[in-house]
Symmetry: C2
Subunit: 349 residues, 2 copies
């Protein structure tokens, strides 16, 4: 019924081994033989059986990319960059790898499930993107999985995620969220702001914590009071930014600036300010983080910290494919760049 490699071999009048060699292209085969085999493949419309091939070879061409929220361009952009380096020749069978993105939705269980599934498939590599969850139990479970994956020969790369101390084999490309957060708040302080609201992301997330730490470091360094009532936690979405801003305004109507956990949240903050009759930046300045494509189209354009998502993703992809040397020590910090635009200005008198 289904065409197998043996059928191709019979038709091409060679042994199955030869067909395999032609298909994998990793072994010398006479040009004429190769041609004959390829013709047979074509004529029979043969498709390699992936599972059989992976079983025999004890490894597969699958490369998994884990993201927290695929609907968020932050992850979409990284995923696209990573995947672009994974497709194309370099794999085993037929010279193609299957780069696939898995959406954990930020759920620890799903993250672990995907990791298990990928482990089950004997994935060639796994790339985990974005902030990690800071629950100790979960972190330990993930680290254990990563270690096991690495032991089984799966390359593990973290992109935009801090290194996992217990998974020493994992290469990490970390974003300098702390530094970026600090720079951003210093920019605001430099403009004269002293009462800054901060909309943080979900608690128990490394990204959230690091950005907030940067913000606080800036306040501390410049002797600006850090009133805990000026910080609100929420999700990484627009709605959350909207509501948090209203809440911050309620707590302190004299705020002159709002720093958001990311650009999406900042957009929600802008909407809330507008709906409250406040002008940006005349009444209140707003800043985001990430510099997603739409941020420049906000009105006024958003001041933010640009993260080189595409470059970092591409690099992570190449490292995962073994096409680029890992950074020394297995860890590299990727810095953000402050983008000053129209949404921030001097505070009202």
């Amino acid at each position: 019924m289904t065409v197998t490699l043996a059928d191709v071999a019979a038709r091409a009048q060679v042994s199955p081994a030869t067909v395999s060699r032609v298909l994998n292209g990793n072994y010398p085969v006479a040009a004429s033989t190769r041609e004959r085999v390829l013709r047979a493949v074509d004529e029979l419309d043969y498709v390699l059986n992936g599972p059989a091939s992976s079983l025999a070879a004890a490894t597969s061409d699958l490369v998994g990319i884990l993201v927290n929220d695929i609907a968020d361009p932050f992850f979409g952009i990284m995923a696209a960059a990573i995947q672009s380096e994974i497709g194309g020749p370099g794999g085993r069978a037929g010279g193609e790898r299957l780069g696939v993105v898995c959406n954990t939705g930020g759920s620890p269980e799903r993250e672990l499930t995907y990791l298990t599934l990928l482990q089950r498939q004997r994935a060639a590599a796994v790339v985990l993107t974005g902030g990690a969850i800071e629950d100790a139990t979960h972190a330990a479970a993930v680290s254990a999985k990563l270690r096991r994956l690495a032991e089984a020969g799966t390359r593990v790369v973290l992109c935009g995620r801090p290194p996992a101390p217990e998974a020493p084999d994992a290469i990490a490309l970390t974003f300098d969220n702390r530094g970026g957060g600090r720079e951003l708040t210093e920019h605001l302080i430099g403009l004269g702001h002293r009462r800054l609201g901060y909309i943080a992301g979900p608690e128990e997330r490394t990204t959230t914590r690091h950005r907030l730490e940067g913000h606080r470091a800036a306040l501390a360094a410049h002797g600006v009071e850090d009133d805990p009532r000026r910080t609100v936690h929420g999700r990484y979405d627009r709605r959350s930014g909207y509501e948090a801003t209203l809440e911050l305004l309620r707590r302190d109507p004299s705020l002159t600036a709002v720093v958001a956990a990311n650009d999406t949240v900042a957009l929600g903050a802008c909407a809330a300010l507008r709906d409250s009759g406040l002008r940006i930046p005349d009444d209140v300045s707003v800043a985001g983080f990430d510099d997603l494509p739409f941020s420049i189209d906000a009105v006024p354009a958003l001041t933010t910290v640009r993260l080189p998502l595409t470059e970092a993703g591409a690099r992570a992809g190449r490292i995962a494919m073994g096409r680029e040397e890992p950074p020394p020590g297995g860890i590299a910090t990727v810095r953000g760049e402050l983008m000053v635009r129209g949404s921030t200005g001097a505070p009202r008198a």
Copy 2:
């Protein structure tokens, strides 16, 4: 070295067959036996070998989701919805399916490559999202692949893509792009606009063509002149919208409205208008398509056509998993909803 099912069997003092039955849960096994097996699995930290399992069972737990551009929230949102219905129990081994998204980047070759890779993996189902490429050769190749996949037992679902006539087994959930496009332009005509620029997507794409056809149908129905110089093609991105708008303005500075292929393009159009010193909607109205989350935050908020991406994706996912009846005839049309907001208004006098 690696733990196999036989190891688990030995430890639990049962046969490999029994372990397999426990793991797949699709066969009666005594409760006490099951427990013993599960304990052994745990103690040995056993992970099923996916390829071996798929080889023996002649099917896998992989479900592929093809998208044109994962960095575009349009696809991200659909992919997230589809994937959310795929994870969870229902698969074979261990009751989990691996829903993975594959980014074709809009390239015909990569689309075909992914399809082949998925076929090679004996995927349980494949969901293709978004507009199709209208090249006859490519369309035929895709249709052939889809037919072959269906023959091999892979469920094929199209989500937001028109049905492929040559792949009759594929279930199609199509967006009514033509109707939405028409409604949008009629809204503008109703406001009094007569000189409308249209920024179309890339040529040779069903989505592009259908939206444009809707626009033209509206013009024709209301006796508005359809000057071909008022239509420009570009990519589905912001930059393209920016440049196209400048070009349209150059060709006809008296334009009173710009209809964009989608919201992202519309954002670029807004930026170009602003940079040209034109007010929205006082000087020029702007409309988009899709109603992505950021569209409501544009200033002014974008008039657009809302597509139920999440609902459609979830439904496609359920159909792919065999958890929902396909629509009668295998084809369902999903309608959009006109969202009138601040970016459109009456033309200047």
